[in-house]
């Protein structure tokens, strides 16, 4: 199992930084370029790199298909429920103004949660597609 040692060492070094960068793109998305979609793709790329280098079996231990499916649906649900929260707080669907004490804070919470939903769904969709191509069940 000592083949590809350069790949393994480099991947081990890279993966934490890719994940960190994904989180940066995710949570800095409301100030600069980025957002849930890009972050989700970067996050999934780190995972796919791990599964390619260390084997799909190890990949499935990190992210079981079941958990992945829950995250996939959970992201969409998070998005929808943020939208519904606007309705329940007496305004329109996806109105962030009413989510916080002030409209500015509300917009902040709203976009953060919605983008988190997008990020979750995008990354788990990428991983699900990878599983299907790797011949595994979703």
């Amino acid at each position: 199992m000592n083949r590809h040692s350069i790949l393994r060492v480099v991947a081990k070094l890279m993966i934490p930084y890719i994940l960190l960068f994904a989180l940066y793109v995710q949570f800095h998305g409301d100030f600069g370029p980025g957002g849930g979609f890009q972050a989700g793709v970067i996050f999934a790329a780190a995972f796919i790199l791990y599964a390619l280098i260390f084997g799909i079996e190890n990949g499935r231990k990190v992210m079981p298909a079941r958990v992945n499916r829950i995250l996939l649906a959970g992201g969409v649900l998070l998005y929808c429920f943020v939208g519904l929260a606007g309705i329940f707080l007496g305004s329109e669907f996806l109105d962030y103004n009413v989510l916080g004490p002030t409209p500015v804070a509300g917009q902040h919470y709203g976009i953060l949660l919605v983008e988190l939903g997008v990020g979750l769904t995008v990354s788990s969709t990428m991983i699900a597609i990878f599983y299907v191509f790797a011949g595994q069940d979703i």
């Binding site: 649900l77 929808c80 939208g83 519904l84 309705i87 329109e92 669907f93 996806l94």
Partner: protein, 491 residues
């Protein structure tokens, strides 16, 4: 709280239901129950919407409280509410019917995926009819189309996969053409909001960019609705999809695409498009070919599902004829046929679903003598068939009556003759099936089968009953269609 949010609830409730459906991986019955409840809640919301807008005032809804040209606006007027009721009504009835049919046709471990995809399609189709934003419409078009491809591919035969793939390729071309058209309009007007486009399009209507946009929009939506020469995806997709999927799609998806076409021509361009480009004449010519050629092709089919699929292409021709006449009566007939065709094709495909449930085939020859063992199913098929032909006391008659009235109004005798001739062809292809089912003996040694289960018969007969009811009491359908047509022509 609920009243103010009615224009969006029918879109987001199925959208929330879809990811929830993934929870029912091991419990097909649970997934079915979820889809059933959501479909009926959606129908209730749709009926409430129709009630609200029937006064003539459109309802507008600003998503996220962003004012209209900047934010996405949902706008429900008479026509939109009418299409929304068609889609959610057919959805509610097919879900009532679906449980046993789906269990018989889709592998158990994939049933939850079917219901998830159905809910996504429902959300997408309702979204298309609701939104007042041309780009948002594209998004919903993609939501409904992508989930439709998956539903078609769930068919039992492997050919369902190629049918779904072909549908995917052509459907994607259609959606891309639509978005190119929207892009070209955006380039000239700087807006995506429909109400805003209405104000800004007249200034630039003569430019080559807008002419190209109209061409792209027509071809793109034409692909989606099964316009005659670009309908090639339709027969296979309808034939190999599971029965419930075929019934739902035949009654809703193409109708919604026709609605989009009406929106583009009559709302966005206010009918002015017919002066700059002869799209009405092109559509009329293609539709006349469709109603005759496709009915003729239907006569030679041995698979009854495929027969009805070709008949659907012909029936879409009737709707487009009504729309391309550019008169109030013509438009009324076209809009009316949206609803009426949904009823008859829904009933016919549900009847075929019952047939397939019992004899595992929908070939004409295998249906020999079936009327003796499945009297209720075949009676439903006959009633649906009569409606398709246009016999009085059925909805089909009402549509054709108004269509012929509209062509006589223009004194286009040949068009009226073509419509009558196409109805005669419909008599032939329906008769082939009815003759085999009623006047041939069941082959010796055929498996002893009984009538389809009550849970499938009742929803099917609800649609058959609607075929007759709305064929006699036309106040609601014709009244709504005429009011919508008057708003479109006068607005």
């Amino acid at each position: 709280m609920i009243a103010a949010n009615l224009p969006i609830l029918h879109v987001i409730i199925p959208l929330i239901g879809a990811p929830l459906g993934l929870m029912f991986r091991r419990s097909p019955a649970g997934a079915w129950l979820l889809a059933l409840i959501i479909s009926w809640v959606t129908l209730a919301d749709s009926l409430a919407l129709l009630l609200i807008v029937s006064g003539g005032e459109a309802v507008s809804y600003e998503i996220g409280n962003w004012a209209a040209p900047w934010g996405i606006e949902y706008r429900v007027d008479m026509l939109a509410a009418y299409v929304i009721v068609i889609v959610s009504g057919i959805g509610a009835v097919t879900m009532l019917y679906a449980r046993q049919s789906v269990e018989a046709e889709i592998p158990r471990d994939r049933i939850y995926l079917f219901y998830t995809m159905y809910l996504l399609t429902l959300s997408g189709l309702l979204g298309i009819a609701t939104t007042g934003d041309t780009f948002n419409l594209f998004v919903f078009l993609e939501i409904s189309s992508l989930s439709t491809y998956v539903m078609v591919s769930l068919g039992a035969e492997r050919r369902a996969l190629t049918a779904a793939f072909r549908y995917l390729v052509l459907g994607t071309v259609g959606a891309t053409f639509y978005v190119i058209g929207v892009g070209l309009m955006y380039q000239m007007t700087g807006t995506l909001n429909m109400a805003d486009l209405v104000d800004r399009l007249p200034e630039v209507a003569e430019t080559r960019t807008i002419l190209a946009a109209v061409a792209f929009l027509t071809v793109g939506i034409g692909l989606k609705l099964g316009l005659f020469p670009v309908h090639v995806w339709l027969p296979n997709a309808y034939t190999y999809a599971p029965s419930v999927v075929t019934a739902f799609l035949a009654a809703t998806a193409t109708k919604v695409a026709v609605y989009v076409l009406v929106r583009i021509y009559y709302t966005l361009f206010k009918g002015g498009v017919f002066e700059t480009l002869p799209v009405d004449e092109i559509l009329l010519a293609l539709s006349i070919v469709a109603i005759i050629a496709m009915s003729a092709v239907a006569i030679f089919q041995t698979n009854v599902k495929r027969l009805l699929a070709y008949s659907s292409v012909a029936q879409i021709g009737y709707m487009l004829i009504g729309i391309s006449l550019v008169t109030i009566t013509g438009l009324t007939a076209g809009i009316l046929h949206l609803f009426n065709h949904a009823l008859m094709k829904g009933a016919l495909f549900l009847a075929l679903g019952c047939v397939f449930f019992r004899i595992r085939s929908v070939n004409v020859d295998d249906m020999a003598g079936l009327a003796k063992v499945m009297p209720w199913t075949m009676a439903a098929f006959v009633t649906g068939g009569l409606s398709l032909i246009g016999i009085p006391l059925t909805v089909g008659f009402v549509s054709k009556w108004y269509l012929i009235l509209a062509s006589l109004e223009k004194e286009w005798w040949l068009l009226a003759a073509a419509i009558l001739f196409s109805s005669l062809l419909a008599v032939i292809y329906m008769w082939r099936v009815i003759e085999v089912a009623y006047f041939r003996e069941r082959p010796a040694g055929a498996a002893a089968i009984g009538e389809a289960p009550l849970a499938m018969l009742v929803p099917m007969w609800m649609l058959v009953g609607a075929n007759v009811y709305f064929g006699i009491d036309t106040d609601l359908t014709v009244g709504t269609a005429r009011a919508a047509a008057e708003l479109l022509m006068g607005g």
